[in-house]
Amino acid sequence: MIKNIWKDRFFIVGFLFVFGLLMASFYHQIVLDNEIYEEQYIYDEEGMPKEKAPFEPSSHYWFGSDRMGADLFSQIISGAKYTLGFALVVSLLRVGLSFIGSFLLWRAGRVMPFIKGLSQSFYYIPSALLIFFVVGPIIQLENYTFWEKAFFEMLLIIAIAVPNTSILIKEEINLIEKEEFITSAKLMGGSRLRILAKHILPHLWPKLLLVYVQQVIAVLLLLAHLGILGVFFGGTTMREFTNEYEIPVSDSNEWSGLIGGYYYQLRLAPWLVFFPVFSFAAVILAFNFMAEGIKRSANKLPIPKTVKSKGERKPNISLVENKSFVFLSQKKTG
């Protein structure tokens, strides 16, 4: 079932988009040495300054430029690997931990309703607000390095999704457990571990893949929200713009950092906020396509292996030509 996804149009389109973006980002990193074209003025033929940054989107600056004149398109390409990489890794850890958690819950028994009730409280709190509320005061502290802060925030982003995802996976396991073949396996005397490994897990993988893709979407949305609220990864440095004031600049061009950094220039240069948000939208759409593809192919039956043509199907009994008739008593056995 899981191999069918490579034959699904929706999945392939989404996958190619994300894969292409990541490849472009690494190409930019390795071949172009992560260089971002930056020029504050556009000159006309006589070498006189014609226009001053920020530039509007044009054929030269596809997505426009910021006030430093840095090309937004290359910034977005360069930041893609951080944002996508972060979302992919965080969701993997979320699903991995929830997978372990679901096994703990599987045998929880009577405590289960209580755990379920407690974790319901996550449904009444927007997750971006919770992260903002806990992380906000801590990342303003001076005495921690950038990596410590990033790691801390990452742990929190992982932790808030684990309880509910564990319950979700546990319910999927329970659904599979109700199938008839599990009962027959039990009747045949299969031990609990064997039933889990041989009968439940093969049916769980496609569901886990779907949960994973949905988690990636959730993490990307969360990142966009946190970016708007001004909490972002990738580090912020204050860069001098003129003598009078400094503007926050994202170190790694990570997308939520781009949104947060440019948010204050919304009225001056709307495209600076629009295009990072638009990139988020495009990637989320691609992941939604992948999720749709997984759902579709999970409903299909496995494609039967190619049937051999009649010529190949001939029974390969070696005919005994010279001794067509032998008495059984004379035939050597063994």
Partner: protein, 284 residues
């Protein structure tokens, strides 16, 4: 029926405890190290404060104020926006679903793809897009369509509710379209048709109530999703609502009490839905 009430009561108590536990999480970290005893102290303190809500102070620039009398206005505003958007989304989605269902099937598939694409758009993009549109329209024609930014004492309703209801509309529309299709496969539709009932009447009297049930089942997820949207919209439109209050105060007690207050109407709504579905189809 008694089972539903008992179960709802249990889940209410547990959710309240859960929200308080989450609200005390800032006490868990001193700097970046875990501080278990601090967390336990924080929880007991939080329970004490929740029992005496009049003690909670809110720090504004001009000094501390008691949170409570002034909180109700802010709270009522946010809840109005949230629920108005939710009900508008359901009604609009229903109307669209009925309309789309009357269309020929080739067009139907195209609309389904379109709504799928639209649903993936993040809320932030929609809010920013609408803001730009209004500003652009104002620059071109000098007509200010709506008050975009709400000032402290002036409350705007139209634009935030519009922004907040767009995404849930598409979400609900998708659920409805999927389920209408599933319901139509069922046998009772054939029976009704063989008795000579009209196409629209079957849809309206039999299929639609059953599909609405599935929307009710999803309503918790939809409202949760709308809460995050509310946070964004209050920030982007500079609305002074409940999430802005939490954001600016940064006080765990304010956070917890606001979340508990938001929890109450949502929880009542879900319990009401459970009771209604029980009376309707006998489903627990």
């Amino acid at each position: 029926m008694p089972y539903i009430l008992k179960d709802s009561f249990l889940s209410m108590i547990l959710s309240i405890i859960g929200i308080i536990l989450l609200g005390s999480v800032p006490y868990m970290f001193s700097g970046m190290t875990f501080n278990t005893s601090g967390y336990l102290d924080g929880i007991t303190e939080m329970f004490r404060v929740m029992l005496n809500p009049e003690e909670i102070m809110y720090f504004a620039e001009s000094g501390p104020y008691p949170l409570f009398p002034s909180m109700w206005g802010i709270y009522g505003y946010s809840v109005t926006i949230l629920f108005a958007a939710f009900f508008i989304a359901i009604i609009v989605a229903l109307m669209f679903a009925l309309f789309i269902f009357m269309l020929p099937s080739g067009l139907k598939n195209r609309i389904r793809v379109f709504s799928f694409v639209f649903e993936s758009i993040p809320d932030v993009l929609i809010a920013i897009g609408i803001q730009f549109f209004i500003v652009w329209f104002f620059k071109k024609t000098n007509i200010l369509l709506f008050q975009i930014v709400s000032l402290y004492d002036q409350k705007t309703y139209f634009v935030p509710i519009l922004c907040l209801s767009i995404l849930p509309t598409f979400l609900i529309l998708r659920i409805l379209l999927l389920n209408i299709e599933e319901e139509y496969e069922k046998l009772y539709v054939d029976t009704a048709r063989s008795k000579g009932m009209g196409r629209f009447r079957i849809l309206w009297r039999h299929v639609l109530p059953n599909t609405l049930l599935s929307v009710f089942h999803q309503s918790r997820n939809i409202l949760w999703f709308m809460l995050s949207n509310l946070l964004m919209i209050e920030f982007l439109f500079n609305i002074y609502g409940i999430t802005s209050l939490i954001r600016t105060s940064g006080n765990p007690a304010v956070f917890t009490i606001s979340m508990l207050l938001l929890f109450v109407p949502m929880f009542l709504f879900f319990t009401l839905l459970r009771v209604i579905t029980f009376k309707w189809v006998g489903e627990k």
